[in-house]
Symmetry: D2
Subunit: 366 residues, 4 copies
């Protein structure tokens, strides 16, 4: 089949590199005589048939820009669709047929969906409904097993590591405990890697339940060695041994639990109570998602984008692009969404951190 026109959309939380993927998709498709429609705000644009035509001019100059020129949406699930505004009690409806209708109306030959876990799962459902889709994985947490890295992760890591560097000087000057809270609700990659890259002293992860006594002891051991300060890097999803996350009180109607503090506040209170040390907390939050992508992320995004078009051109829909070493490969979307990549408490990354003196606040992993 000759491919003449494809659609592309970006869904889920924004991420440095989205525009670079969109640009690569458009440039490569146009070179091959394929028109590209960019649907707005994730699947919402498919539901409402809202798009912009991605010609050369539309994607010029976007390689370096954070965010996505297409807009995105965390909420727009065509299989359970609620109209805004948020917080209202409307009952969600299945409007997936509208997506199929938009696909047909615009005579698309394929759709490229750029998104995370949720987006890929929806893509799989649409695949099963007969829509030819190629997926591009996007998770800032880097928690997808099928790919060595997802774009955006390196940029987030770079922001987190820079933050560790910044709080280091304050911790040292004031003889304080400084706690940095990073993203990572289920997978601790940003926290672990920024802790290794920044030389953090204690690292708290969703994958390694922490023990309060072990945290206190780690700081005391440092004090015995004459170190008057400590740096803690904590993933937002770090849990204690009972499996409890820090209470994150949510404002009604909000989806942003960070606002009222979480793991970092909890650990700060623990340390102040037990050790009478001054603690300071920094919650990185959305700083990790924004800004211009790193060189690595721009490269990876560009490779993902061109490969996604290649898969379409070769008729290999149903697949997702992925990175293996320095090669771009493809894996069935179905498989890709089945497995999360989480930090292995017994793995080499954790061993490396232990080897340079980082504690995980655990009685067993040490």
């Amino acid at each position: 089949m000759k491919i003449k026109r494809i659609g592309v959309l970006t869904a889920g939380g924004d991420c440095p590199g989205l525009n670079a993927v969109v640009r690569a998709v458009a440039k490569h498709a146009l070179q091959n005589g394929v028109e590209v429609l960019g649907f707005k705000n994730g699947f919402d644009g498919m539901v409402k048939n809202q798009f912009i035509v991605l010609d050369d001019k539309a994607v010029s100059g976007i390689l370096t820009r954070g965010g996505t020129i297409l807009g995105t949406s965390n909420l727009a699930n065509p299989f359970s669709y609620t109209l805004p505004p948020i917080g209202t009690a409307k009952k969600p409806k299945d409007v997936s047929s509208l997506v199929a209708h938009t696909f047909k109306t615009n005579r698309l030959d394929a759709l490229i969906t750029i998104g995370g876990d949720g987006t890929l799962s929806m893509s799989q459902k649409f695949l099963e409904m007969g829509l030819p889709i190629v997926g591009v994985p996007k998770t800032i947490d880097n928690d997808l097993l099928s790919t060595d890295y997802t774009f955006g992760f390196d940029s987030a890591l770079s922001v987190a590591t820079d933050a560790v560097d910044r709080i280091h000087t304050t911790a040292e000057s004031h003889h304080r405990v400084m706690i940095l809270e990073t993203m990572g609700r289920y997978a601790g990659w940003i926290a672990l890697r920024s802790c290794i890259a920044g030389g953090g002293d204690i690292c708290l992860l969703p994958e390694i339940p922490y023990n309060e006594d072990a945290i206190i002891e780690a700081i005391e051991v440092r004090q015995l060695k004459g170190k008057t300060f400590s740096i803690i890097v904590a993933a937002e999803g770090a849990k204690n041994e009972k499996g409890e996350m820090a209470v994150q009180k949510t404002i009604a109607g909000s989806t942003d639990p960070i606002r009222l503090g979480g793991i970092s506040s909890k650990i700060a209170s623990l340390i102040e109570d037990r050790l009478q040390l001054e603690c300071r907390v920094v919650v990185l939050g959305h700083l990790q998602r924004g800004g211009t992508p790193t060189a690595f992320d721009r490269w990876l995004s560009t490779r993902f984008g061109t490969e996604a078009v290649d898969l379409v051109l070769k008729g290999q829909t149903g697949n997702m692009v992925a990175l293996r070493g320095t090669e771009i490969i493809s894996v069935p979307i179905k498989e890709a969404v089945a497995n999360l990549k989480r930090v292995d408490p017994q793995g080499e990354e954790v061993r490396t951190a232990l080897a340079v003196g980082t504690s995980f606040g655990s009685k067993t992993i040490k």
Copy 2:
């Protein structure tokens, strides 16, 4: 009098550029045959007679480093001195005579104190007790009237502006309201300037009481113009028209009210309630204090440090160095601490922000 030996200390919150001042003081003094003792942890080192000798090697390589190699302390006030640990109910004592004793014991000819409002006030008291002191102003908030700029401010501004840039892409992609909370309890310079530099839409300052309706209206006006997102930059000390700061619940024994949210959380709730828009909050906190100083701050710190030594050499103690245009001048410490520099709601900086479309969430300043 031939100057043979001087002391130097850094006090109050840490700030990019402290090490650059210390280095310039030491280098210039040593060139003039003057020994330099660096007292540890602000006035605490004077109380306890703890210091390091600042020879050429000790200050080598510190120009670019954040924090202070001397350590600092927010709490050590010799006129009302409490021993750690924090949170204990000891009665503070006046140990100022110990400072004078340390001065005498080490046969110091002068002391250079690098610090903010509090440090300069203490320095004035010691001056009145007969200690020859030269002050170097340090306030990351840039709220000292006697000097155009204090070092550290430009670095903090640079971090805050970078944060505005980062959240911009997310706000745009997700059609959200993003709120950035900066430092500035009494003076809104960081918020105002980063808002101008980053192109923020609404700016909330301690100096311009905000009105909730005016904030909502500013967002609605943007919506009418087709802008689906807004960026709010709020100083932590922004107040409403009743003069109320956002409630900042403090953990017992802590001096870090940021931890449980403040102005940014309050404004987020307001907007979600009134406009059903998604809001996200970033509290910059200590990221503004850390890291390598900007070129401007390194230059200013170096000029302050050498000029402070010059004042000592010329016998002009009792003064503080200050920046006027591109010149370094000196002003009596007494005068310097008497006046705060706050944002003038009728001034040109505010007019500039209004001129490029920024709202101050006010019914009167617009």
Copy 3:
């Protein structure tokens, strides 16, 4: 007179902050009901009547971008105008009447010219021909006496200082002499300030003729102190005691003498010949002009832009905006172009550098 429509243009070498000025001009003018035409490529667009209308959308998102959306031209001088291509031997013509004609045709009430020395001089001529003009000074070298700073300088300084930091680690690791060549043909501000900010060991400026023996001696003194490396920061226009600049061989038809090395290569050869030390050279060149402006430059650009419109609205054409301390003032363009601001060899900036151990490679300034 009611102002209804103005023109704006950017001329001379590009500079971080140009877009921020253009944006501020447009936003403030539009708020006051004034239309804005942006002429393309400096005065060339006035000659050819080529412009874009600067509405709100045209200036949206440009605050943070380097370069100028209007384009610029180093060569387009309407009083001596040569058509491209470069290198051809056409005789230049006076086409200044075309500029006046464009002004009239478009019923402009005023013109805002953003440019350096050359642009301001041309603006003065047009003023004398009766065109109401307000100038905004742009010189990355910061060599205009009437203003404390020009925008772009802080960004260039930031790039240069970062470069000093980078070569520092190599110099130290390899025990080498590293030479950084910065911009500054007539004024050495970038070299001097980046040398102070980066902790350079030797600084060569157009304003302080260097002596080869003094350079060699400065390195030998460092060797005696056990320092195995040296950092030299040299302005491209640094001269020896005979007033000779380094030979900069120019490719025919080119205006870019940097290409074939200059002062940095010359000094490298000197040191290798005399001291048998390994030298390495970095010529920063155009890296100093590009990229997103610093927070300070964005602020200054925004203030300049709004003030320029205010001058137009108040009928105070013939003036240039300028920075004095933290205030924006205005000065007659005529005065502004008459005086260059160069580094004073006896001044405080040089004394500061000497005080922290920097040598100027001079027998007299030390």
Copy 4:
């Protein structure tokens, strides 16, 4: 055999991440009760038995610093050893037995050598002489086949990509051709990846001989599309179809051919002659080697360092650590040095660049 004491050295050109490796080696060894001697200036310190003891304090705070605290040397080859100063006509001698002697004298159980091609080849010779050595690969050019990445490459790439971004705005504003010359004498990875990451228009590599007509045509095609500027990224080792590198005139006694311009100057002259377009050249040179390593490089360095110690502890000397995907593996040093990793003109990376519109100035690869 119980390992009690090891040596470590850094050799060859400096590279961001060297200190991070040294720190990881020291920390992990010390945790296992192994003493660590850090030999100074590469193999030179082994020849002269000059070292520092790497205790916890010695490696504290070095993770983020560029360069190497041990010093390095490009020239010190014990098998063909010349005493400084450079440029003198001494006959080199084989002093390899001194290295073995130093090894024995200090009762070392193993040596970890951190270096590139040359260092690894020497290490192999010492292995064959019976010295137990583990190698850590260091090449900023990333041209070693056995490992996906070497540390330092990501940092260099980040500097190069930032430079592409900076010159982009100038090129666009001035309608110029801007040429960036990156490192890469035999392998073009930095040029290729920074061209992809920065959106360069033409990329010249050692692996793809360029054709002058093809370069001119690529610019002309852009002009036809209305693009008034072009960005060229050229590796220093780019060759024409006759296999000629640009003439790089070398100053006597110097090893720094960059100084007098090379490929970038040559291409600039070509374009100015043929197209009468203004060109500007930036030679990045040593900026690519310096400064704090990126998060990725710090992580990779730390993993390499701990793994190198693990290999020593397990008695697996003779091997080099390497990265495969996200895993650290080991390969025989012998194999590792046998194969260079160069850009494959027919490979996917090149295809990706072509797909987004980059030309390689070639008649065949397009």
